[in-house]
């Protein structure tokens, strides 16, 4: 319990430091603090379930721990995770826009684009990273289910926060 917490905390603090580096920009875009917890939650859920599904397929010998374009199962998982990320980001963006408008009275539709751009950026890095780390851990003879949880949460937090900040700067 404590060792996994240490990994999670270190990852969280690195992600926090990335966020702290952009504090001046946070003032400029209203609603960013609404987006951050939701975006991190969404990325963690997608990458976590992706890793769990790949692990199950590896243990059941449905796939080999090697990427091939012909492996339908891995490709289907990649497509599903891309779609989920984009759909959830759109939902999150709309929610942030609506809360901004109805609660704070700020009309800022560009905020819908922030999670979508960030999702595209983070998806491009996180999905291959998740798949190849799961394969690597499995090949080394470990159970990816035990290791990938804290590792994914840590990695995803740092990458997603950076992607979110890049998207914020772009907007």
């Amino acid at each position: 319990m404590i060792s996994s917490q240490i990994i999670v905390i270190i990852g969280g603090l690195i992600a926090g430091t990335v966020l702290a580096a952009f504090t001046k920009k946070l003032y400029l875009i209203p609603g960013m603090l609404i987006l951050i917890p939701g975006f991190l939650e969404m990325r963690g859920s997608i990458a976590g379930t992706l890793s769990a599904r790949i692990s199950s397929a590896l243990f059941l010998k449905v796939i080999k721990p090697k990427y091939s374009r012909k492996t339908l199962l891995v490709n289907s998982n990649i497509h599903a995770s891309m779609f989920l990320a984009l759909a959830a980001s759109l939902g999150l963006g709309i929610m942030a826009f609506a809360l901004n408008y109805f609660v704070s009275g700020i009309f800022f539709p560009q905020i819908i684009l922030v999670p979508i751009i960030a999702a595209v950026l983070s998806e491009a890095i996180e999905t291959p990273l998740t798949i190849f780390s799961t394969f690597y851990i499995f090949k080394k003879g470990h159970d990816p289910n035990n290791i990938m949880g804290p590792v994914i949460t840590t990695g995803v937090d740092i990458i997603s926060m950076t992607a979110l900040m890049v998207a914020m700067v772009v907007i």
Binding site: M1, S4, L13, A20, I34, I36, L40, E41, S45, L72
Partner: protein, 239 residues
């Protein structure tokens, strides 16, 4: 004679396709028939059933996960709304900003730890009717509260060191407030998770259902949301 294996394979494929179409709540005898007749493990059959034919898999994953991911995302966003209301106080205090993602993760983790351990205790009948008298439950509460507060303390100290390194250190009073907010937030959050888990867990268990299936999604969602709300309230109180 050579046609026999082909016939068997065709029959098996027919069974597998049929298997994927069965509603999940039905425990169809076909699963057992396939296991016995073709010597395919029950785990593999369950996997095939869960994931359907490969060309339909992406659709099935999206169909199964989208609503839950959306719900979890939107609940967290509602928690973020509480933070947005105190952004003018929060943003200038760098250690609190650094703490945000770490605390976001910690809340969900404590929800999972409490829920899964409580579920085991319920299954092993370690929780009495008068749950407040259960020694094991008291032990769990003390253990989780201690670990959460210690973790929060250590995280807050580290979050205070980072701005100090880049020459943006906060004064002693602010540092003390940040540590106090972190420890109080962890304590309040764990207490809330424990109360909800115990009440919901006992209720679900009495209904002869597995608490694992209900408690983890409930506690993690509440923890994510409540963490941000509690943090926002503490920030208003202390600053």
């Amino acid at each position: 004679m050579k046609l026999e294996p082909i016939k068997a394979a065709r029959q098996m494929e027919k069974y597998l396709v049929k298997l994927t179409k069965i509603e999940r709540h039905k425990h169809h005898p076909l699963l057992h028939t396939l296991h016995k007749k073709h010597n395919i493990s029950r785990k593999t059959l369950l996997y095939i059933k869960g994931h359907t034919r490969e060309e339909h898999m992406a659709h099935k994953i999206i169909h199964g996960s989208l609503r839950f991911i959306l719900l979890a995302t939107l609940i967290s966003a509602l928690g973020g709304l509480a933070l947005e209301q105190v952004r003018h106080i929060l943003i200038p205090i760098l250690p609190l900003i650094i703490l945000l993602p770490a605390f976001n993760n910690m809340a969900g983790d404590f929800g999972i730890i409490v829920s899964s351990r409580l579920s085991v205790m319920l299954h092993e009948k370690q929780v009495k009717k008068r749950f407040w008298e259960s020694e094991e439950l008291k032990k769990l509460a003390v253990q989780v509260a201690m670990i959460s507060m210690l973790t929060a303390f250590a995280t807050a100290v580290l979050a205070l060191i980072i701005p100090g390194i880049v020459g943006d250190a906060v004064n002693l009073v602010t540092a003390g407030k940040v540590v106090l907010i972190a420890v109080l937030d962890a304590f309040l959050l764990v207490s809330l998770i424990l109360i909800i888990s115990v009440i919901a867990g006992i209720y679900v268990f009495r209904k002869k259902k597995d608490p694992n299936n209900f408690l983890i999604p409930i506690t993690t969602s509440i923890a994510d949301w409540a963490n941000m709300v509690v943090l926002a309230l503490l920030v208003i109180m202390f600053f």
